[in-house]
């Protein structure tokens, strides 16, 4: 047997293992069930790809008389072998990013749902994520896992795209931090609207970059800037806009806490500078015109740190016109403002918290209120009360 055939068999056995593991799960819950069917179909597609790659190799052996005892000398033959090997690499990487990343999460999911120490925490987290999705009229269910950091994992299974969101284990009882999950769901929103974003915002941003391109900027750097804006920064700003319009001051406050460091103008290829993100979100907050909110006090709070330690950046990537074009476009695309309907409840919940009582409002309102209030009660008391309300054995969601 050829070495490459053995490799193909190894990949197939991985795929078969994944399929068996998934299909063996007895009575999966409603949420996990929505992941199983597309994953099984995707595993079949991957298996077919391996079979096709094997068939290509067989044709290659037949056409070139390749043996494992010598080298091939002619160019097309040598190049074809390289291409066939790269095809196997591609399949292996797809197995990794779409299967190996997800499969262990199933066990984490099942374990967090069933273990006495985590099941109520997990149920509360799931409830919060489900409520957020419902508030934003997004898909009905999504896996949420208590993990290492707030994150969103996009999974591409052929034409199906699923997401898993993560909360932070060490902050699982610090409920106000959960507001940060709105940004992670913003990434899901981005995917659902990426065609509109690509046709409306991306061309405008590229146009502005072209119009304002410095004479001495070489093509390589210019392409990097286009790439950074279109592939990384626009999705991040969309997620910020979504989060600000969904949870309003609660998200912005918690974002400020997370982003507060010594480099507010730091330019990263993956994320826009925190200063820019907050300026954008403050403007969104201003436009929301929520009652009892002084946006300038939020602005001043952030600027007292950011403006003290940094000066506005003169880098071309944050050119004023480019930023303005991108942000106004994103603001137009993200039209829904769920916070407008929630705000009265958030204020009521905030009042209750300041009086030292447990609010009667829904989970999103309570967590949002907690994110902006200075409560007059022990956080752990509230946490226990919410666990009892939403995650007790008798509670049915």
């Amino acid at each position: 047997m050829f070495l490459l055939d053995e490799k193909a068999n190894d990949i197939i056995s991985k795929i078969e293992f994944a399929k068996e593991t998934i299909t063996k799960i007895k009575s999966p819950d409603n949420v996990l069930e929505t992941y199983i069917e597309p994953l099984v179909s995707w595993l079949d597609i991957l298996r077919n790809r391996v079979e096709q790659a094997k068939a290509n190799f067989k044709d290659f052996v037949c056409d070139t008389n390749f043996t494992q005892h010598g080298y091939l000398h002619e160019a097309p033959q040598r190049r074809l072998l390289a291409v066939i090997l790269r095809d196997f690499e591609d399949i292996e990487r797809r197995v990794y990013i779409s299967v190996d990343t997800f499969l262990p999460l199933v066990f984490v999911w099942n374990s967090q749902r069933s273990r006495a120490e985590t099941k109520r925490q997990h149920k509360l987290l799931m409830r919060f994520v489900a409520d957020l999705l419902q508030l934003c009229h997004m898909s009905k269910s999504m896996m949420a896992i208590i993990g290492e950091d707030y994150a969103c994992l996009p999974l591409e299974w052929g034409k199906v795209r699923k997401h898993v969101v993560f909360g932070t284990y060490s902050e699982v009882q610090n409920l106000r931090k959960w507001a940060l999950l709105a940004h992670e769901l913003g990434h899901v929103y981005y995917y659902q609207n990426c065609e509109r974003i690509n046709s409306h915002i991306t061309p405008q941003v590229i146009r502005k970059l072209n119009e304002n391109r410095p004479i001495n900027l070489d093509q390589r750097d210019f392409e990097s800037i286009i790439y950074t804006w279109t592939q990384h920064w626009i999705p991040e700003f969309v997620s910020d806009c979504f989060a600000a319009k969904t949870l309003g001051p609660a998200f912005i406050t918690q974002f400020m806490l997370a982003a507060l460091d010594s480099q507010p103008n730091r330019v990263e290829p993956t994320h826009p500078p925190p200063n820019l993100r907050l300026k954008f979100m403050m403007n969104i907050l201003d436009a929301l015109c929520l009652s009892d909110i002084d946006v300038n006090s939020y602005r001043n709070m952030w600027q007292s740190y950011a403006h003290t330690i940094s000066r506005p950046s003169s880098l071309f990537i944050v050119h004023e016109e480019v930023v303005r074009t991108a942000l106004s476009g994103i603001d137009t695309i993200v039209t829904e403002k769920p916070i407008e309907n929630k705000w009265a409840d958030v204020l009521e919940a905030k009042k209750a918290l300041c009086l030292g009582s447990i609010p009667d409002q829904d989970l999103i309102s309570v967590i949002s209120a907690l994110a902006i209030a200075e409560p007059n009660l022990d956080y752990s008391l509230l946490y226990k009360a919410l666990l009892k309300r939403y995650a007790s054995n008798s509670y049915v969601s």
Binding site: N56, D59, D63, D90, R94, L105, P154, S199, Y227
Partner: protein, 150 residues
């Protein structure tokens, strides 16, 4: 708050771009070998070359669309970025010419009018290898994140 989303998305986009270019190369080399052996060419291999032509046309259209402020393909934008980071491809004007010549070459090759490429094979190889490299970088970072998450 992490880069997990970006890395997964990068890995997915670059893998897809690499697969399309690699498939086209596979079609080219199988056809070359078949012709060397005086055998008939498989329609499946011609189909792969057609997909390669489609890929180059998409990149070409994206280059044009960027100038005219029209809708661009996200995958093609990623390929343009990767191409610009290497030394083999110059500015947009030379890339446009390279794309146009490569598409013509691939069409002529399919019809048996030429046997040797001047541009197309090298361009597809650059796309396949450089996007594969980017996919590898992103995938490796995803591994670190996933290990931490678990």
């Amino acid at each position: 708050m992490t880069r997990q989303w970006q890395l997964m998305r990068d890995a997915q986009t670059f893998l897809e771009a690499s697969r399309l270019a690699n498939d086209a190369l596979m079609g080219i080399h199988f056809v070359q070998i078949a012709r060397q052996r005086g055998e008939s060419v498989s329609p499946l291999h011609i189909e792969k070359i057609d997909k390669g032509i489609e890929l180059l046309e998409t990149i070409s259209r994206t280059l044009e669309a960027r100038e005219k402020q029209e809708t661009t393909s996200s995958e093609a934008l990623s390929i343009l970025y990767v191409l610009s980071q290497g030394r083999m491809v110059g500015g947009p004007a030379s890339l446009k010419k390279m794309l146009k010549d490569s598409i013509t070459e691939l069409k002529n090759f399919k019809e048996g009018k030429i046997e040797v490429f001047e541009e197309a094979e090298e361009l597809l190889e650059i796309i396949a290898s450089s996007t594969s490299e980017e996919a590898l970088k992103a995938t490796s970072k995803v591994r670190i994140f996933m290990a931490e998450a678990r």
